[in-house]
Structures are given as C-alpha cells and as structure tokens.
Amino acid sequence: MTPSEGWTPDQPIVAIRDLHKSFGHVEVLKGIDIEVMKGEVICIIGPSGSGKSTLIRTINGLTPATTGSVTVEGQEVHDDNLDKLALRRKVGIVFQQYNLFPHRTVLQNVMMAPLLVLKENKREVEERARSLLAKVQLHDKEDAYPAELSGGQQQRVAIARSLCMRPDVMLFDEVTAALDPETVKEVLVTIKQLAADGMTCVLVTHEMGFAREVSDRVYFTDAGRIVESGPPAQLFEQPQDPRTREFLSKVL
C-alpha cells in the first residue's frame, strides 16, 4: 500500500485535528486533537458517554466526522473521494461485541477478507491465518464455530481476523468490556504482545492497570473534550485537572 504523497514515517500515522461530531443537535465530540506516531500505543480513557467510542470509530470512517480532520498516513479519512478500501486495509478495528461471522469457522473468519477483498493467494492466506491463530493461542480451535468459543476466545479470533489484513494501525473499542473477568486477561496479553511487536494501537479501555502498563500516552476525555493527556506515569500519578483526579479516584 502506498501512503499518501508527502507522508513520511516521522510524521504522525494518525492525526486528528479539531474534530467535531454531532448526532442531530447533540454534539458528542467538541474539538479533539490527537497525534499518534508509528509504533505508539495510545489509550483513551474517560467516563461512559464521553464520546470515546465515537472518537475511535471516526479513525476508520465508520462514523463520519461533522467537521475537522482525521488523517491516516497523511490521507484524509473524511473526504468524499476517499478510497475506502485503502483506508480499511490500513486500519483494523476490534469491537466490544467481537462480531465474528457465526456461519463460518474460526479459520474461515480469519481468511475471508484477504481472500475476498485483497484476492490474495489462498495458500498464503491460509498459512498467515494459521500462524496468527497460533499467535493468539487458538491453533486448536481453527475448525470451531464462533458459538462454540468463550467470549475471550472469540475476541482473540476477532483480533487475528483484523491482523490478517496486515493493517498499519489497530483500533480496539472497549474490547474487554463484554468479557467475563477471567477471560479479560488472555485478551489483554494478546494486545500487549501486539504492542511489543511494534503495532500502532489506539485503545478505548476501562482497564486502567492495562492502560498504565502498555500505553505510551494516555488521553483522558470528558464530555466530548480531551481534558488531559500525557505519559501514563504522569497522568496516573500526578493528574493535573480536577476532573481527571475525580475520575481516577473512582476507578482506581
């Protein structure tokens, strides 16, 4: 994939500038600025209803922006002439509800998009899919159907499915929120491994311990604005804004 002209890897891979989003008369994002460098792991935290999910979904164009700009590798996402296919190949997303295809096996779920969309060679795709499933510790579940798996296992399949498109950026939208506590860890371990491999990750999460451990930078959002951001040590140890302090005192 060719990045847009003029973009070099020393520039932010994802750049959000003065992003506004309204649903009808309700403005849920009121001017957001975020920059993500290649290989960085960014966590977005904040109270429910602060617009975190909406924000992350603007990055791959699932939710269109009202005004402002979102670029991925220098390419404007909210452009009518956007090559959606190119964007979706660059940006993978994993959802809270996994959204696996229930009528296909685990292996087929992972292989479908590269085969259908990228028209890649079946043997290569299958090899890649198997190695990704091994990486998320599910090599023995290749022929299972999603309904036969636990929530944590399904979520790891969803991660492998996204990775099989070889994205440059991965988005995680509260991926552990629907899981049983005992399966949260296995999903977090998978993401951590991915981050260690150098994947650029943007996460919306309620797992504060995880955010602190894994992220390069944490953004605290409230009521559609970024209240405060910084390296996790700083944001969690010495929050500057009273709203950040209040939120952290509730969840930690």
Binding site: L62, H103, V117
Partner: protein, 266 residues
C-alpha cells in the same frame, strides 16, 4: 405465521384422519342395503384415479407457483433493501399491494386481464391454458410474502455484522453475499415452507375458474356418478385426506426446523 398447526402431539392429527376415514366408511355402510345400486364407496373407488389426476395438477400448480414466487420474491426483496429509493420504493409498492389483496381477487384479475391466447412475433398463436394463469395468480401473493421474508431476515441480522464486514473492506455486495445472506437462509426456510403449504391449500380455488384440479374433478365425478347426496361425505373426506397426507409432513418438518434453529440461537 398464518398457517401453523399448534403444538399437538403428532398422533392426534393422524387419529383424526383415521376417524374421518372411518366415518366415511360408516356413512357408506348405511347405503349397503340397496344392492342393485352402486354404493358411494364403490363410486368413490371408481372415480379415485380421476380425482387423483386432478390432484397432480394441484401439485404442479403449487410447485410452479412457488418457483415463480421464490425467484421473483427474492429479487423484489433485494430491491426492497436497496439503498437507492428509485429501486426500493417501487419494490415496496408491489410487495404491499400483493401482500394485502385477497387471493381470489388477484386470481380473477389474472384470469380476466391476461388474454387466453397470444400472438407471437412470428405470427404463431399460443393458447394460455387456465391452469397456467391460475398458477401466476397464486404466485403473486406468495411472491410478495417471500419478498417480505427476505427483507425481514436481512433486517434481523445484527448491525455489528455489517460493521465488521465494512471494517474488513467488504463491499456491500460482498457483505450481502458472504455474510448476511448465508445467515438469512436458515431464518427464511421455515416461513418459506409455511407459505408453500398455504399456497398448496389455496390451489383448489382454481376450481372456481374452471381449472380441472382435484376439487373440480371431485365435483365432476359426483355429478357423473349420479349426484346422490350420500356421495358428499366420502368424496369430500377423500379430497381433504389427500391434501392432509401431503401437507402434514411438511408442516411437521417446518416445526422441527423452527425448533432446531431456535435451539441453536440462529
């Protein structure tokens, strides 16, 4: 669903059918005294092949009408979910008109609006038999219902399926074909089978229009055998029994599929 036998033990209807046959035999037995005349049962046996021959036409009409209704209904259903209003709105109009019109009215309309013969461009004249017109008349309301079954099934797939397919760069067509429709077929099968059963049960309406199907042949047979009042019960019971024997297994099978899909959460 309009036509579903409620949760009865499967034996009950079978016992009922057996009782019906017994009753007809009993009704016939009363006539046994008059030895010089043909009994109702004898008359029925004589005319059975003729009635069954009519029933074959009922089956042919039902299968053909269902085939037409399925193909056109699926096309109409796809049009109903099109993002383009130019395609969607006419499809909705057609669907709603045929879903909400009495079958007999549609049947009469087709009978009298479609000419009984057409002249091909080559100058040849082709006759359109009444049973073909009746088949089209039965297909139209079922088509509209198949269209709604398809639309409803697509709507019942969670939006997360569309979103994840979209995120994996599937086109709308790819999403429909590889993600949405395979999940719809399971949901569509039981109502589709219900409509086939209902359609088959409606085919004797063609008798009103002079098509020689099972009901028409039954009436013709009774007349030919002398129009005696004691013919009514055995002849009509026989007619009901052949429909029952054909339809009831379909109904059982439909309910089994419904239960299985409900259990698997699909």
């Amino acid at each position: 669903m309009t036509w579903t036998v409620t949760r009865l033990n499967w034996r009950l209807p079978v016992i009922a059918a057996a009782l019906c046959l017994l009753a007809s035999v009993a009704a016939v037995a009363q006539q046994e005294g008059a030895a010089d005349r043909e009994t109702a049962l004898q008359a029925l046996v004589t005319w059975m092949p003729f009635i069954l021959q009519g029933f074959v036409l009922n089956l042919v009409m039902s299968v053909l009408a269902m085939a037409i209704a399925t193909v056109t209904g699926v096309i109409l259903g796809f049009m109903q979910i099109s993002p383009s209003a130019v395609i969607r709105l006419p499809a909705k109009l057609v669907t709603h008109v045929f879903r909400n019109s009495p079958w007999l009215v549609i049947l009469f309309a087709i009978m009298f609006l479609v000419p009984f013969r057409v002249t091909l461009p080559g100058g040849e004249t082709v006759m359109i038999p009444d049973w073909v017109k009746a088949t089209v008349g039965f297909a139209l309301p079922v088509m509209a219902n198949v269209s709604e079954i398809l639309r409803g099934a697509v709507m019942s797939i969670p939006s997360g399926q569309w979103e994840s397919a979209d995120s994996l760069a599937f086109s709308r067509g790819q999403t429909l074909r590889h993600v949405i429709l395979p999940q719809c077929i399971r949901r569509m099968l039981p109502p589709w089978m219900n409509w086939y059963a209902l359609l088959t049960l409606m085919t004797p309406m063609a008798a009103i229009l002079g098509v020689n199907e099972a009901l028409g042949n039954t009436q013709a047979a009774m007349e030919a055998a002398g129009s005696r009042p004691e013919f009514l019960i055995p002849f009509y019971l026989f007619l009901m029994t052949i429909f029952f024997v054909f339809i009831y297994p379909i109904s059982l099978w439909t309910r089994r599929l419904e239960r299985r899909y409900a259990a698997s959460g699909a």
